[in-house]
Symmetry: C2
Subunit: 290 residues, 2 copies
């Protein structure tokens, strides 16, 4: 058998982004974390992680943490059958737009949500799947349909992203340009360095990458910055209906949008609780998304 | 004179949380980053950062990055005088609640905001000041009045945090308890590991730390989770007025709240543009905050 304490230490180092914080999380010394991982590497005859900042898993390391997550799901099924009154921690990687719009009621509709302590990790929908591959999370919402090793995926629906800005912003920057070339020079809102939606949109209009950026790592802050006239950007239709209605946001290119599919990724060894959660999320998503 | 390229490399390593990403940001090789920093340390005869994950500044390292930020502000004054048409990047550390509520219109009201590319870094209001101390940002909003070395602070106002939950949540967990003891067992929303507001609130009611957590690193997601009945937590009054009015959120202890002061921290070497930004933020905050 593997030394599961070593696998836990490995997962904690990746989750927490370092040995020191992993030790704090596991309530053991930093040298204990290092030692467990070194012993694991000695047994396998190869490194399980790259000691850079933040540490990164090697291929074998990724297979191990992925395996641990599946084992933990099996344990959870066993424990919740034995102790149905016990709380379980549910760690999910989700995109910021989902948690700010449709996801919370979906989680609440799971019949066992009162037993769940949610730990949400916010990632761009393009990269959340990496957390799943690493076995860091129990499920994830992302735009890729391709399941990870040991996992499956189920379609939730499509979120339509519109390119929006305030009327004043358009007046200032478009300055009579009836095409879309002005968008290349106007300040463009981006959520983070991983957020490529705005670039994709300009490419769709056969324009170059945006020239000026406003970086706002908050989904709701992103919308506030657009309403305040500080930039244009891609926003989920479901998040901005009221602002389109009251005219504080306007579509800068009404003939164009980007549809982003959303998938729920889960483990084949999914626990009973996680089955119920998936079903609740799928059902609610079917009502909210396209 | 210092080697300012080395100081830039040092700041980038701290900002980006590692040598590899710093190299990418500066568009140089990782070995060039390491070499510049090593030469700086050789000259000073002591380390400027701890090579842990993520890297951390030593005391002398902190003084150097802090110094660099002040020099950059001076440069900016010079450049914007010479080239008033040039854009400037304005890197700010702000708390999530501010950007999701009152801050965006304040930034927009700055007369030179059209020339500014904002780069927002979101930090808990208790720890944003560390970014300022490190010289990583040009200004910061936080709850401390104490200026950093080389900096000054100005009061913006007070944000009142109320302890709120959905009516269903209170019905399920309070179950007739007319006091507040039920809050210790009920799931408690927290924004991040640095978010101590809920702990402070329970201490105010002479209760122990919360027993169950829901971790939601999104200000607006936090409110959505509360409205969906998944937890109670402290929310800014200015963010939830409409939900208090429509009854989807209810005060769990109406006689108690936490007032969090907000301060704008800036550098003594503040550029002209940053003076105008500060004045716009102070003016708008006076209208929105208590």
């Amino acid at each position: 058998m593997f030394d599961y304490r070593a696998l836990e230490a490995l997962t904690a180092v990746i989750e927490q982004g370092g040995f020191e914080r992993a030790a704090k999380r596991l309530n053991i010394s930093q040298s204990a974390v290092s030692q467990r991982i070194r012993q694991l590497e000695f047994r396998l005859g190869q490194p399980v992680l790259l000691r850079i900042s933040p540490p990164r898993l090697t291929e074998i390391g990724q297979r191990l943490t992925n395996h641990l997550q599946q084992v933990q799901q099996l344990e959870q099924s066993l424990l919740t059958e034995e102790h149905p009154e016990q709380d379980v921690t549910v760690r999910l990687a989700v995109n910021a737009d989902s948690i700010d719009t449709w996801l919370a009621p979906a989680l609440a509709q799971c019949p066992v949500s009162q037993r769940m302590n949610f730990e949400l990790v916010i990632e761009d929908q393009r990269i959340g799947l990496q957390r799943m591959k690493n076995g860091e999370v129990m499920a994830c919402i992302c735009e890729s349909a391709q399941p990870v090793n040991g996992g499956l995926s189920q379609k939730l629906g499509v979120v339509r992203y519109l390119a929006l800005a305030s009327p004043d912003f358009i007046h200032n920057y478009a300055a009579g340009d009836r095409g879309h070339h002005w968008l290349q020079q106007a300040p463009c809102l981006v959520y983070s360095g991983d957020d490529q939606l705005q670039h994709q949109f300009l490419a769709l209009l056969q324009l170059d990458a945006p020239g000026r950026f406003q970086r706002v790592p908050s989904s709701s802050g992103f919308v506030q910055m657009a309403r305040a006239g500080l930039g244009f950007g891609m926003m989920p239709e479901i998040q901005v209906r009221e602002f389109l209605a009251d005219g504080s946001l306007v579509n800068v290119a009404p003939q164009h949008w980007i549809d982003v599919p959303h998938y729920w990724h889960y483990w084949q060894t999914e626990s009973d609780y996680m089955v119920q959660l998936r079903q609740a999320v799928v059902k609610h998503a079917a009502e909210c998304l396209l």
